[in-house]
Subunit: 235 residues, 2 copies
Amino acid sequence: MVKNVTFKDAWDGQADCRVCALRESVLFAGLNEGDFEHIHQPIDQYTLPVGAVLYRSGDSGQRMYTIRSGVLKLVQYLPDGSQRIVRLIRSTDVTGLECLLGKPYQHDAIVLQETEVCSLPIKVVDNLSQENPTLHRELLNRWQRALNEADAWLTELSTGSAKQRVARLLLRLVSDMESSECELFAREDMGAMLGITTETASRTIAEFKRRSLLVESRSNHFLLDVPNLQRIAED
Amino acid sequence: MVKNVTFKDAWDGQADCRVCALRESVLFAGLNEGDFEHIHQPIDQYTLPVGAVLYRSGDSGQRMYTIRSGVLKLVQYLPDGSQRIVRLIRSTDVTGLECLLGKPYQHDAIVLQETEVCSLPIKVVDNLSQENPTLHRELLNRWQRALNEADAWLTELSTGSAKQRVARLLLRLVSDMESSECELFAREDMGAMLGITTETASRTIAEFKRRSLLVESRSNHFLLDVPNLQRIAED
DNA sequence: CGTGGGTTTGAAGCCGGTCAACTCACGTGG
DNA sequence: CCACGTGAGTTGACCGGCTTCAAACCCACG
């Protein structure tokens, strides 16, 4: 686990949203030239390595984040100290919406795969959203999207046998890719996503490999046998 | 199960939000006299019996709902037909927010305990929220509240042993009451909330009764031994 | 080349799933 | 009024999957 990566270390510079490659799919999609004049605070860009902490549960933050690439986990803890991963945040997702409402962050946000983020001061988002209805609407959409994700985790990833859950998780990882290739997470993280133990996660993945449902293409990248995994996922 | 309760049957009349007893805690808390002039569509009030369907997943609705009293379940279905309850909606909660975004309802909403609801046309909410920032802010808060609930269901109610889950559910039911009394749900529903079978739910509840963690006060109403249930909940 | 973290595998035991029987309350119809 | 049917809750027996505890393995890294 990489520790103590300060944000300073990871700083990539200031973003120019006007020329952002992801402009079409990102929170600021609906902004026009005039709107950009109203951005009086810098929007910084960072590249965070695996294990880096974007924010911690309970912190009262002043920034939300757009993910340009990579994957983060949102983690909550139980009284007994065990952890549960409640969602994954990926490319074009926005996280930290809650601080727009003056609430502290509700989760730990930790990098699972090297991640590029843009850091948006809430002031900027708040001001723009008052003037630009499209952005405002987009914010609501993001909230709803997060809710849908949360519900899906419950129904798809916390229901059924361990094999079903693992299969559904794998399918989910490639669902928005062109190829059926994906990078796997640590078994411990898979367990925390699926509500099973690390050992069961490992056993299941190992079995899938033996049955060639997973074939390693390059180090820790796997090609999925989608049709057969789907059969397992649905029972 | 009560079937085919039409909304007409359940109609209680038109609501006058100005004199609403729940005004302080409800979505419209921040409205002023002037705002009410802008309500050009009627806000109807209904009393729905157990088993009634408020809306169905996939329906493209034009209304959201404020719950005055009672309890509803939000249900999602898996490909294999089994159901999972992803949230409960209770007094002062708002549900159906998604149709404000033009999306169809994401769940079945079904009455678990007799429920009084107000039906708010999205046009009304939409118009008011454009002019009244307090209401608008309140809408965002509701969205965030739903998200928090969803996350809590994952970490509290879908993690740990069956005994822990049942105990946590029971504690959750009385957490916002003055007394520690609550009304239980059907075992099948409990199972669907906790990701366990009906039988396991029944066995666990029966055992809790034998151990006097649950004492029946009146028909299907139970007093909880909160401290001991808490011990079980945390292990 | 040794150390350590993550992964895999093994063995044992238990919790919860499955299937089935039985009870009880309730409502319907003879 | 009682017989009967229905549906929910409870309980039992059995079994299998998952957890638990441990050991072995693998590989990256200093």
